[in-house]
Amino acid sequence: MDKRKLVLVGNGMAGVNCIEHILKLKEQSYEITIFGTEPHPNYNRIQLSYVLGGSSKFEDIVLNDWDWYEKNNIHLYTGHTVTKINHENRVVHTNKGVVESYDELILATGSNPFILPIPGAHLSNVISYRDIKDCEKMIEASKTYKKAAVIGGGLLGLEAARGLLNLSMDVTVIHVMDTLMERQLDPTASKLLQAELEAQGMKFRMNAATEELIGEDRVEGLRFKDGSVLDADLVVMAVGIRPNVELAKEHGIEVNRGIVVNDYLETSVPNIYAVGECAEHRGIVYGLVAPLYEQGQVLAKRLANVETKPYEGSVLSTKLKVSGVDVFSAGEFIDQPDTKAYRFQDDFQGVYKKVLVKDETIIGAVLFGEIDEGVRLFQMIRNGAHEKELKTIFSRTNTEKESGAPQVISMADEELICGCNGVSKGTIVQAINELGLDSVESIKGCTGATRSCGGCKPLVQDLLQCTLGDKFQKVEKEPICSCTTLSRDEVVEAIRAMKLTSTKEVMNVLEWNQENGCSKCRPALNYYLGMAWPKEYEDERTSRFVNERLHANIQKDGTYSVVPRIYGGVTSPEQMRKIADVADKYEIPMVKITGGQRIDLLGVKKEDLPNVWADLDMPSGYAYAKALRTVKTCVGENFCRFGTQDSIQMGIDMEKRFERLWTPHKVKMAVSACPRNCAESGIKDIGVVGVDGGWELYVGGNGGVHLRGGDLFIKVKTREEVLEWSAAFVQYYRETAKYLERTSHWVERVGLEHIQEVLKDEGTRAELIKRMDEALESSKDPWKEAIEERSVRQMFEKVTVS
């Protein structure tokens, strides 16, 4: 059966969110095409101000990267504006001549910034504030010019103003009303806000109507109604938005202020829908994301043929971001003759709270300076809660708060944590418990919480803490080296989320302060990248320490040592003869039995290394590497009078299983065949002890600088289980430890119980092992490689001029 064709006009937040829902519901039902005027993949418009203010880059605010479209088989046309809809034949046309037919058509064209119809509005350096292009223009202008005027004292205007302050501009906000953000705040809160922003250096002209922008080509100033003038070489107009309805209007779709839709987001024309800021529902056009996402959910279900409640409108809440001032409002908050209010004001702390009540029902609130209760109040307002429920909020202020118990504890499961994406406390708790999530980032990935405005991040963090209890460690933030302030986890997260694929890219994108990194971060990044992308990543030799670059251990005199693999410590006369011959041939000054049950050839010259390896014809023992070193074994049941298991074979099997695997630090193993422990299994990263009828696995042991006995990890019956559990353990260590962190330190940091808890699930173990196998798949013996490949061999050569 041919798939039905779904076309989306507008590659923005509301439209793409709706598509995401459709994919979730019925991945295969539509062939999807998206047209967008902007040349970018869908990004988070809400966070534009972070880009403007310099705390994020464009990449950070991308919501759906190019890969996402590709993975979901979506045809994406960026830089295409749809100019024509032919609903008889069900086709759309773009300005670049592309014609696409549809079965269902979604219009999500958003809004256009409103430009005041005054003289001079066309001058250069008069900018609106809507998209990334506008941000770029402002940033560019701020490099040359210093005086900025922002027309509009609403949410958008203040965000723009704050961003321009960050860019070191002198900023004046011009507002026609006498209070700021009058649509979201009552006069008291407005005044407090203004005072706070003035303290930050923002200037204000209230009650001022701009009549004209002055200038030749470029704007040079503003003239107001009262005749006064203000100099400015950059003017930002943030005076409101108008639903972008031209396309609909020209093609016979019913339009009022926005494109008129019913409770299922259907327009007046069959098979055409509208969501987002361009749509008008029951007379209301929304301009915030939360309601737009609610609309998208309903439409998605409709299009996926899943039963859905109709969309019946939304209650709004607003938070001011960016400025560092905490402001929250929701519902109705302007006092009326028939309303009463709970008020609280503390001028010393700069806190103001007001909750409006009508007929004993909570209908709205404004919070300034302290907005913790915002989420719960919002929930109450949406539910039309009785005023007596306020007690649970305001009584908390004194008691629980002092005790330090986070507010999330007292929230009900169905209460919303993330307003933008409609994610409840219950959903997040369930995700933490069932999917084993342990970071805000992973919760964002699975549930969508914190993905839009990010305001709920502290709540999500509290929730993690409460749900995981002791298992949740607020890891002290420790930068991976002095080139950055980012910790290991942040860097690895970024590598995965932004799909960074080379050390250079990591250092660029994450803004390393040393362009080329240092001897600490380069090997670490090389490891993390290889761990994250086992198949794609090409190892960077130049980012490796000499030992791992040349696959031999450098000595104090600049010569090298060579330790071939001797699996499980078992050798043969033939092997020993070969080693002896090589030692003779290359005049190797020292041949030593190591503490790891094998033989070390010390003092080999660099240029001899490839030949020594070729003559030995044995695999590398990795005695120089952050990788599996030795697996020591005792003689075991075949020889020893106490032996209960075949420790030699077990050791050989383990060494063959894990050799060549790169790890955060070196990994050593041992297998003994009884608790006498002749192979010293108690001080190995993984130590196995054979007992009657089974095996004990010890982990996190270390015989080095900080002596640590291994912890009993699990008892199992069969050799297969020994291999399975050790593989899962090693891979979990590979994925979560910091580079250069031995298992002994890692086990102490994350906790043995945590590791046991995670690995207890058979599915999780299988996944980990699968990923380990992927990493091993492309591994190759490095000595063979050096012998065979000219470019590698080159590194061992020196030039001698006589």
Binding site: R522, T542, K798, T800
Partner: protein, 104 residues
């Protein structure tokens, strides 16, 4: 009077970017680095600390980190970076066409 001589040490493609190479000329042991397509630097292959072979150190930008105890040395002037002190001798490298020369 000192006479300096240009000595050919090879062609450009014999040097890998960011991988040092040891060049021995008479009694000079020189670590030669190709930092970019046509940018070469060279210093004495002996760390002022305990003689570490600088040619096999990690190269980061204009710096090499000694493989033995991680001293950081600026290849532009041979100076050891703080907190350590010292310097290594620097050699001039000249490129003509595809050929690389060192000045002694």
């Amino acid at each position: 009077m000192r006479v300096s001589t240009l000595i050919k040490i090879g062609t450009i493609d014999e040097f890998q970017v960011n991988v040092g190479k040891l060049v021995e000329i008479e009694d000079h042991a020189i670590a030669v680095f190709r930092l970019a397509e046509r940018q070469f630097n060279a210093v004495e292959n002996r760390c002022p600390h305990k003689g570490g072979p600088l040619a096999v150190g990690i190269v980061s930008g204009d710096f090499v980190f000694c493989p033995l105890h991680d001293w950081k040395i600026d290849l532009k002037d041979g100076n050891v970076q703080a907190p350590d002190h010292g310097c290594v001798r620097k050699y001039d490298v000249t490129i003509e066409g595809e050929e690389v020369f060192i000045t002694l």
